[in-house]
């Protein structure tokens, strides 16, 4: 207890949970009371954001170096394992707290307009509030198990919200896929926790990170294995190779959900985890290289797939995977602040892009609904020229596009540049990092290209909705454009948070996070770049972004594009990209099918039906019946028979008695 507003930290998750309870009750008993749902759903989030701001301001006033930990009750007192239900406030969780509640509030507000006519309005907000509760538990937890509760909880909410429109099988399947793929990652997280407890005797963040350098030793086997398992958890939650395949399918959920869970907050949990465990990752240079390498590969790989997707949300989904890859390059390199910085700016511009696409889909959907057309409202081939009808959305999404492409002075430029510079700097110590830097740069080129392509096909060129539907296209109501404007401003100027010294800034976020990142940074080799090199890197990055944008603008011809219905199938390499490198098919063939075969043919038909059902359950029944049959043969119904046996028995007893005496 500090006697300041920091003590109120429990209120933030409690408010979100209150929202879940109230909206859940309404969903069960009064699903039509939409006004009440709106007040509860958005209100608790706004209140949680206010609490978050108060807490962070009070925490900054305290000027504490160490985290402020609140232990509420003893959760798992099992011998040497003492786990408390505890929350902690430190510089890193403060940043996450503000991002989650701030961006979350805006997206809740947007949802009011987007989901207005949905019958599951109350259920939707109940899930959304529950998600915020678990996300806050995740980022505020003071030990691994509490964090794991949040980790699992957000996965549950993700599942519930991806399959929100569960009466269509494809949506329910997408939810299940996300849940099952995440299980693999969660297994990694669990194993990592076991190793951490085994090696350090504690699961509290403070104890573990304090003891790790002495108990585990730099480059040791245990720390390498445990960090790799932790990273396996991250690849599941944060959609990295090889577990990224669930995220594109997660786009089956409502668009604000994609913005909140599958772009801005939940998927960044892995980045948060690595940044939180920066000491452990710094002790395991191999794991750090793996994190950065997987991140770089994912960034490039996902970007190539995004080049050829037609579904506006799928492009953004692959873009999210790609940007998460950047964050992992950052945190894997040891540039924790850069990774978190990109997490924050990405939350701004990707939430904006998703909400913008939601606004587009909303308009398209209404236009098609009004004209009773059954075209795909998310296919970019059916759009075109929408800037004339949705000027606000178009303008704001252009801001986000410039931010994600890395055009100065928009927010994404600073964060992406910092990550690439950090990777390049490590390259001077270990050359492999230059490869990661190259991947990142190539991905930056593709990012600029596919984002420009998305904007070009959606908002520019001729209209392909058909004249009748075009008349019905119009901008969304203010409750939807309002959050877009706020996010637009944040995307444009978010870079202020961490303007590097090179640009005359004070790298505020970097210094703010220092108490958290210092222990890890102290273990890593120093890598400094001269100002001349840094300016060269900036020039290269800007040139790459400009090449991507101008290249897309020049190469792509929206005039030549046909609506989805009459569009020809892609050929050659384009088809490979359109089909996502056939990764889903490969997984299906090499993992899913053998697993299903083993489950069905061996585990079900042999083990379950054969051994357990056949020998065990039915076998016992058959044995009892055989014994019963034998006994029933004695019951002939003939009294003479009974008497004869009776006499034999009496004689036997008599003989036994007399022979004994």
């Amino acid at each position: 207890m500090t006697g300041t507003a920091v003590d109120l930290i429990w209120l933030a998750p409690a408010l979100a949970f209150l929202g879940f309870v109230l909206n859940g009750a309404l969903a069960l008993w009064r699903p039509t009371a939409k006004a009440a749902v709106t007040v509860f759903g958005v209100g608790v989030l706004a209140a949680a954001f206010a609490v978050g701001v108060a807490v962070v301001i009070a925490f900054a006033r305290l000027g504490a170096e160490a985290p402020v930990v609140f232990r509420y009750w003893s959760w798992m007192p099992v011998g040497a394992l003492q786990v408390d239900a505890a929350l902690q406030v430190d510089q890193l969780s403060a940043v996450m707290l503000l991002v989650v509640t701030g961006v979350g509030s805006l997206i809740h507000l947007f949802s009011v307009g987007y989901m207005k006519e949905d019958a599951g309005y109350a259920r939707y907000f109940a899930y959304l509030n529950l998600f915020i509760f678990f996300m806050l538990v995740l980022v505020l937890g003071a030990n691994f198990p509490v964090m794991f509760v949040g980790w699992e909880g957000v996965g549950l909410c993700s599942y519930l919200l991806i399959g929100f429109w569960f009466n269509e099988k494809v949506n329910a399947d997408a939810g299940k896929k996300a849940f099952i793929v995440n299980r693999i990652g969660d297994f990694g997280f669990l194993v990592a926790m076991f190793i951490i407890f085994w090696a350090t005797g504690s699961l509290d963040f403070g104890d573990v990170f304090a003891r790790a350098p002495t108990l585990l030793g730099a480059g040791g086997g245990a720390v390498t294995v445990l960090t790799l398992f932790l990273f396996l958890g991250c690849t599941g939650k944060s959609a990295q190779i090889p577990l990224y395949t669930w995220l594109p399918d997660a786009m089956q959920g409502p668009t604000p959900v994609s913005a909140l869970i599958h772009a801005a907050t939940m998927v960044t949990a892995g980045v948060y985890l690595v940044a939180r465990c920066n000491v452990l990752f710094a002790l395991a240079p191999i794991s750090g290289a793996v994190v950065a390498g997987v991140g770089a590969l994912t960034a490039l790989f996902a970007a190539t797939i995004a080049l050829k997707q037609w579904d506006i949300k799928r492009v953004l989904a692959y873009s999210t995977i790609s940007q998460l890859g950047y964050m992992f390059v950052g945190v894997g390199t040891g540039a924790m602040a850069a990774g978190i910085f990109h997490l924050v700016t990405h939350a701004f511009f990707k939430a904006l892009l998703f909400l913008g696409s939601g606004s587009v889909i909303y308009a398209m959907h209404h236009a098609y609904h009004a004209t009773h057309s059954h075209e795909d409202a998310q296919d970019m081939r059916n759009m075109g020229g929408l800037r004339r009808h949705l000027p606000w959305t178009a303008g704001l999404m252009w801001i986000a596009t410039l931010a994600i492409a890395g055009v100065p002075p928009f927010s994404g430029f600073f964060s992406k540049d910092e990550i690439l510079a950090a990777a390049f700097a490590r390259g001077s110590v270990q050359p492999v990092w230059l490869v990661f830097w190259g991947f990142g740069l190539a991905a930056a080129l593709l990012t600029a290209f596919y984002m420009t392509r998305l904007m070009l096909y959606t908002f520019h060129g001729p209209n392909r909705t058909g004249a009748e539907a075009e008349a019905h296209l119009h901008e969304a109501p203010w409750v939807m454009t309002g959050p877009l404007v706020v996010l637009g401003v944040l995307s444009a100027v978010g870079g202020i948070l961490n303007v590097p010294e090179l640009w005359g800034g004070n790298a505020w976020l970097h210094h703010w996070l220092e108490p958290v990142t210092k222990p890890g940074a102290a273990l890593l080799p120093e890598a400094h770049l001269s100002h001349a090199t840094e300016w060269t890197l900036v020039a290269i990055a800007v040139a790459v972004a400009a090449t991507g944008i101008v290249g897309a603008w020049r190469l792509l011809k929206p005039e030549a594009l046909l609506p989805a219905r009459s569009a020809p199938a892609e050929r050659g390499f384009a088809r490979v990209l359109r089909n996502k490198w056939y990764v889903d098919e490969l997984y299906n063939f090499f993992i899913v099918q053998p697993l299903v075969w083993v489950s069905r043919e061996i585990l079900w038909k042999r083990v379950d039906q054969g051994i357990i059902d056949g020998a065990g359950v039915n076998g016992a029944a058959r044995g009892a019946r055989a014994l019963g049959w034998l006994g029933s043969r004695l019951q002939t119904g003939q009294v003479g028979m009974y008497v004869a046996l009776f006499v034999v028995g009496v004689l036997a007893i008599l003989w036994r008695v007399t022979a004994g005496s």
Binding site: S632, G637, G640
Partner: protein, 98 residues
Amino acid sequence: MLLGPALVISAVLFTLGVAGVLLRRNAIVIFMCVELMLNAVNLTFVALAQRLGVGGQVFVFFVMAVAAAEAAVGLAIILAVYRHKQTVNLQNINILKG
């Protein structure tokens, strides 16, 4: 004192009763053979009573009382079975077959 001959007669009577129960098919006859076995036992009690005291003779009265009750119930059952099946041949009465 005739104890030996009395026990021999009683044993013969009992064996006749057992043989009758085992070999005959008519319920009435079996019933009578059961009575024969009871009375064979009674004869043993009485014969041994002169040596072992009056307890055996008291027991005989109990056996006769029980045998009377048994005769009443048994004959009633046989009568009921006969009304139902038109026979008292035990080979034809086997509905308790397992």
